[in-house]
Amino acid sequence: MIVPLGHVLILSGLLFVAGLLGVLLRRNLIMILIGVEVMLNAVGLTLVGASAYWRNPEGQLFALLLMAVAAAEVTVALALVVYLKRSRSTIDVNRFNGMQG
């Protein structure tokens, strides 16, 4: 008997929004990635909390899978950062607009 579920969820919500704000407001690509990591972790916390609430292992299992996906994501994303740094010599997202229609 530790805390109400609501508090866990509020904590993860706050973390998620903080991460989102980071993603939206920062222009440095690395900082954006950090924001994404924060958001992912918020989700992980939700999963673990839910696992405890439902007395069910699956929440924890998915948190593990989430971690693995995050690892894969970071790998590719960071490789992209390096690539962009080399080809464009900048990692400022506002300078990337090759997809403009």
């Binding site: 989102l20 993603v23 939206l24 222009r27 954006i32 997202v93 506002n94 990337f96 607009n97 090759g98 997809m99 403009q100 229609g101």
Partner: protein, 617 residues
């Protein structure tokens, strides 16, 4: 023996086909020989089969159409009426073929000419002999095509080609009405056989009969250049003169009269239609005569004269005397073909000059031609005892014999027209004999241009014997042979009176013309009234202004605005619309990551809000 009837039209057709396929390898004499021989043979066959006509022989070759209740056999009917007409067509054609062989001696395209000429005779004979309206229509359109191609025979001159096109289109416009009549007749009677239609005519509703008769009249007017559709004939003079003589004087233009004669049992059921036919005939006769009075082109004089004379034939049909119509048709064929060929010879002598005021001295250059011209002209003018006198008087007498106000007034108008006719016929003679510095030409007239005219000259003078009224000691032979309605028989007093009046009119005309043209004159100064008459009462400008010009202009407008602007371009417009929309939507793909993320965020919020909404309610 009846199956030999098919030889009459098929012989000229064979001639045409031989010329078409083998003409290129033939010498010119052989080619013309084939053309003349085929028509002459046709005339001979007509004479040979003449006895068959008395008992209305028929012959069927094969069935043309057989669909549902429609049966159209290729069937010929050799009635006395058809026999007369066929003999006239083949006979006159044979003479004109001989004339044409000489007239077009130097033309390089003689093969095409005789091919079409023979084809024309074939089509004309189909009209004459057909017992089925559809088969008649085949000939009807066939002569129309030949006329088109022959008017534009000298096709390098676009004016000539246009004249041919005009002739075809004007007659075709009338044929539309004829065609509607044809459809209607089939709808009402279930057959297209002329004989059967005439038999059933009495059982048809009277209102339909009147409209049908008027539609048929319109078709006949087109082919015969009667009033609303008359404007093509003067232009048709662009063709070679033998064409004018054969097609636009003797045969094709009388096809309309012939059609009305064939269908007379139907038409006569409607007094209204008969009155209209008489009116059309009289007014056209008057119109043609006034125009012929002032023309300067020798062929145009004859063209308007033809319009006028065919008007008399319509008047005859209206007055109910088929005999009179046929009588005038025959005599007119003789003297008008004669006049045209004389005119052709005169033009030939003057190296192509057609202006009456630059021609002259005919008696000195070719006395023979002068006498022939005189024979034709007196017949046209209706000088007593010539063929034209008898045929015209028969028509006028039939009008007066009706003794109603309408027909009497039409008869009076016919008399006035007869006076005008005498005026322009004699004017022609005087102008051609005038002693003036005329266009120079080569040598005397070739014999080939003169001797085919001799039989016609004789017929023009004594053709009246064909149907000499009993008053004059004749037996009305034509009327007996045709056994067709001759209208009310006029009293002897009326006939004598009419003959007297005619004599007076001709004499008066002679005095008037003699005073005016005895000394060589120059053309009348340009007066609006004369201009108006020379232009054929300006019907052409009227039609151009009211019909053809708006038709063309509206068509171009339709093409430009509706067709190019909408019907064929809206798919492209649809494509452009998509493109434009895409251009507008491009703004949303800024390419900037943060924009996309914001959009994604709003999306999440939307989903959450939806969830909230669902939870609350």
């Amino acid at each position: 023996m009846t199956e030999f009837l098919f030889l009459i039209p098929l012989l000229p057709l064979c001639g045409a086909l031989i010329i078409l396929f083998a003409g290129g390898r033939m010498p010119r004499r052989l080619l013309t020989g084939v053309a003349i021989a085929s028509v002459a043979a046709s005339a001979a066959v007509t004479l040979w089969l003449w006895p068959l006509a008395a008992d209305q022989s028929r012959a069927t070759l094969f069935t043309w159409f057989d669909a549902g209740s429609l049966q159209v056999p290729m069937e010929l009917l050799f009635s006395p009426l058809a026999a007369c007409m066929a003999l006239m067509v083949t006979g006159v054609s044979a003479l004109i073929h001989v004339y044409a062989a000489c007239y077009l001696h130097h033309d390089p395209d003689i093969r095409r000419f005789f091919m079409l000429f023979n084809l024309f005779v074939f089509a004309m004979l189909v009209i004459v002999l057909a017992d089925n309206l559809l088969l008649l229509f085949l000939g009807w359109e066939g002569v129309g095509f030949c006329s088109y191609a022959l008017i534009g025979f000298w096709y390098r001159n676009p004016v000539f080609a246009t004249a041919g096109r005009k002739a075809f289109l004007v007659t075709r416009a009338a044929d539309v009405l004829f065609g509607i009549a044809l459809l209607w007749l089939f709808h009402l009677t279930g057959t297209l056989s002329i004989t059967a239609i005439n038999l059933q005519a009495a059982s048809l509703p009277p209102a339909s009969v009147t409209i049908l008769a008027l539609l048929l009249l319109a078709g006949a007017c087109g082919k015969s250049a009667q009033l609303p559709f008359s404007s093509w004939l003067p232009d048709a003079m662009a063709g070679p003169t033998p064409v004018s003589a054969l097609i636009h004087a003797a045969t094709m233009v009388t096809a309309g009269v012939y059609l009305l004669c064939r269908l007379f049992p139907l038409i006569s059921l409607s007094p209204t239609a008969l009155a209209v036919i008489g009116l059309v005939g009289t007014s056209t006769a008057f119109y043609g005569a006034t125009c012929a009075l002032v023309q300067r082109d020798i062929k145009k004089v004859l063209a308007y004269s033809t319009i006028s004379q065919v008007g008399y034939m319509f008047l005859a049909v209206g007055a109910g005397t088929i005999t009179g119509a046929m009588f005038h048709l025959l005599t007119h064929a003789f003297f008008k073909a004669l006049l045209f060929m004389v005119a052709g010879a005169v033009i030939h002598l003057a190296s192509g000059e057609q202006d009456l005021f630059r021609l002259g001295r005919l008696p000195k250059r070719s006395p023979m031609l002068f006498w022939l011209l005189l024979a034709g002209s007196v017949a046209l003018a209706g000088v007593p005892l010539t063929s034209g006198f008898f045929s015209k008087d028969a028509i006028l007498a039939a009008c007066f014999a009706r003794q109603t106000l309408w027909w009497t007034s039409l008869g009076v108008a016919g008399l006035i027209t007869a006076f005008l006719t005498a005026l322009y016929a004699l004017r022609l003679v005087y102008l051609l004999t005038a002693d003036r510095e005329a266009a120079s030409g080569h040598g005397p007239a070739p014999r080939g241009l003169v001797w085919p005219l001799l039989p016609l000259g004789a017929l023009a003078l004594v053709g009246g014997l064909l149907n000499l009224p009993e008053v004059w000691g004749g037996h009305a032979g034509l009327g007996r042979w045709l056994a067709t309605p001759s209208g009310l028989s006029p009293s002897h007093g009326l006939e004598w009176g009419l003959a007297f009046v005619t004599l007076l009119l001709v004499a008066g005309a002679w005095f008037a013309i003699r005073n005016r043209y005895r000394v060589p004159t120059s053309p009348v100064s340009e007066r609006p009234c004369v201009d108006f008459l020379i232009a054929g009462w300006k019907f052409d400008s009227l039609i151009r202004f009211a019909i053809t010009a708006p038709f063309e202009r509206l068509g171009s407008e339709l093409e430009r605005s509706l067709e190019r602007g909408f019907t064929t371009s809206w798919p492209a417009g649809l494509g452009r619309l998509c493109q434009a929309t895409g251009q507008k939507l491009r703004v949303f793909t800024s390419g900037s990551v943060s924009h996309y993320l914001v959009a994604m965020g709003w999306g999440i919020i939307l989903l959450l809000a939806m969830l909230l909404f669902l939870l609350i309610f």
